[in-house]
């Protein structure tokens, strides 16, 4: 009994404070969570709309796609958005995938055509690449090389014509690792998404 009394005497303030602060945080989270969730959806839609110009709105596909990341060490759940154009026709797909960059994880929003044959391009959702060097993956001249490129084995080259749309991607001078990271995301994660979507019958069946 003495032990219990000693425990309560010593820690009552901590227990009461933890309860009070917990309530405060729960209340704040309850009030702000819808706005935070909406911000994320707005950003994804804004970026995806920039990729798929024909899209009038996006519908979240109920079935989640599970892909392997970190060289098979972990699994990641991907939410797919169906881009719907005029006459409720599917004009493409959009989703967010990530991969290791030079300093941290690069998250991209990727757009592909309805048949998942060609890339519509990508936008950087978040990254911590070096300003002035690695963050050039956000620049048009690098991104435009992916617009219309075939979904498949993209190859990074150090010299070439960036304006030519094919499977060869010309690396950013001084930011080879960041360029490699984007190409690796396209070759690894995007291909995995394609395979899983095909298995689930989301593509190649006219839907």
């Amino acid at each position: 009994m003495d032990k219990v009394r000693h425990f309560v005497e010593q820690s009552w303030l901590l227990i009461v404070s933890a309860f009070f602060f917990g309530l405060l945080l729960a209340g704040t989270d309850y009030a702000l969570a819808p706005t935070i969730r909406q911000n994320r959806i707005d950003k994804l839609n804004r970026l995806a709309k920039g990729l798929l110009a024909e899209a009038e709105h996006f519908i979240e596909v109920e079935e989640k796609i599970e892909i392997e990341s970190g060289k098979g060490k972990s699994k990641e759940e991907i939410t797919i958005y169906k881009a719907v154009g005029e006459g409720e026709q599917c004009v493409g797909w959009s989703f967010s995938v990530g991969g290791p960059g030079f300093q941290g994880t690069i998250y991209l929003v990727v757009g592909v055509d309805a048949g998942f044959e060609k890339l519509a391009g990508y936008r950087v959702l978040s990254s911590t690449e070096t300003p002035g060097f690695g963050d050039k993956i956000k620049y048009d001249y690098f991104r435009e090389q992916f617009e219309g490129a075939p979904v498949g084995e993209l190859k990074l080259v150090s010299t070439g014509k960036p304006e030519k749309i094919d499977s060869e991607i010309v690396a950013i001078s001084g930011a080879t690792i960041s360029s490699e990271a984007v190409v690796a995301i396209m070759n690894d994660s995007v291909l995995q998404v394609k395979e899983r979507m095909r298995k689930k019958g989301l593509i190649d069946n006219g839907r």
Binding site: L13, A18, F21, L24, T28, L32, T35, N39, P131
Partner: protein
């Protein structure tokens, strides 16, 4: 009675000025170096970080001051951390909800305010030993001192790195942006030079 009021007024003034200059957390105490170096590439993120620190410092000093007579000595650090973590989480959620782009720019440095030495130092050195009024003034002085320092550092770096301040061009057309100033190396060089300048101006006055 008048002497007592004058004494209190002097104490408040002393406390406020200590944070602003004499015990400035960055230039004099060298505390909070992590955000000082990490978020000063531009003025906007520096100002946002400063405002978050003022909010957390103010709230934690108020709570710690109010509970100072109930604190058990061996549990006080735990109580400080619990208090600080709560208000940092609130600041982080607020930024994510209403300033999502800024929240993304600041990245992990907002949650890292929890381990900012300035806040825990003020809770231990001031709020746990003084009344509410002194604790509030101390929080305002230290918070504004920290924010001011961050903004000066960020202003110099932003101008040299981009030729702009608050995204408004301020340098002549012939100015060549010095990209390195926007990178970590620029933070170390600018902070080092400023610390040297502060030491030089106060040389012999210690």
């Amino acid at each position: 009675m008048a002497d007592k009021a004058r004494g209190s007024s002097d104490l408040y003034k002393e406390t406020l000025l200590a944070g602003l200059w004499r015990e400035n957390p960055v230039f004099r105490l060298l505390l909070g170096m992590c955000p000082t170096l990490a978020v000063t590439a531009a003025v906007k993120p520096a100002l946002t970080m400063g405002c978050c620190v003022i909010f957390v410092l103010l709230c934690s000093n108020i709570i710690v001051s109010l509970m100072r007579n109930l604190l058990k000595p061996h549990l006080r650090i735990l109580m400080f951390t619990l208090t600080i973590a709560t208000f940092v989480t609130i600041a982080d959620l607020f930024l994510r909800a209403y300033f999502p782009d800024m929240s993304e720019t600041l990245g992990p440095y907002v949650p890292l305010i929890i381990v900012n030495c300035i806040i825990i130092c003020r809770a231990e050195a001031c709020a746990s030993k003084n009344g509410l009024a002194v604790s509030i003034i101390d929080a305002v002085g230290m918070g504004v001192g920290f924010t001011g320092t961050l903004c000066v550092l960020a202003g110099v770096r932003e101008v040299l790195a981009t030729g702009m301040i608050f995204e408004v061009p301020v340098m002549p057309g012939a100015f060549v942006p010095w990209a390195a100033m926007g990178m970590p190396v620029g933070a170390f060089i600018t902070l080092g030079l400023m610390l040297g300048l502060v030491n030089l101006t106060s040389k012999g006055r210690a």
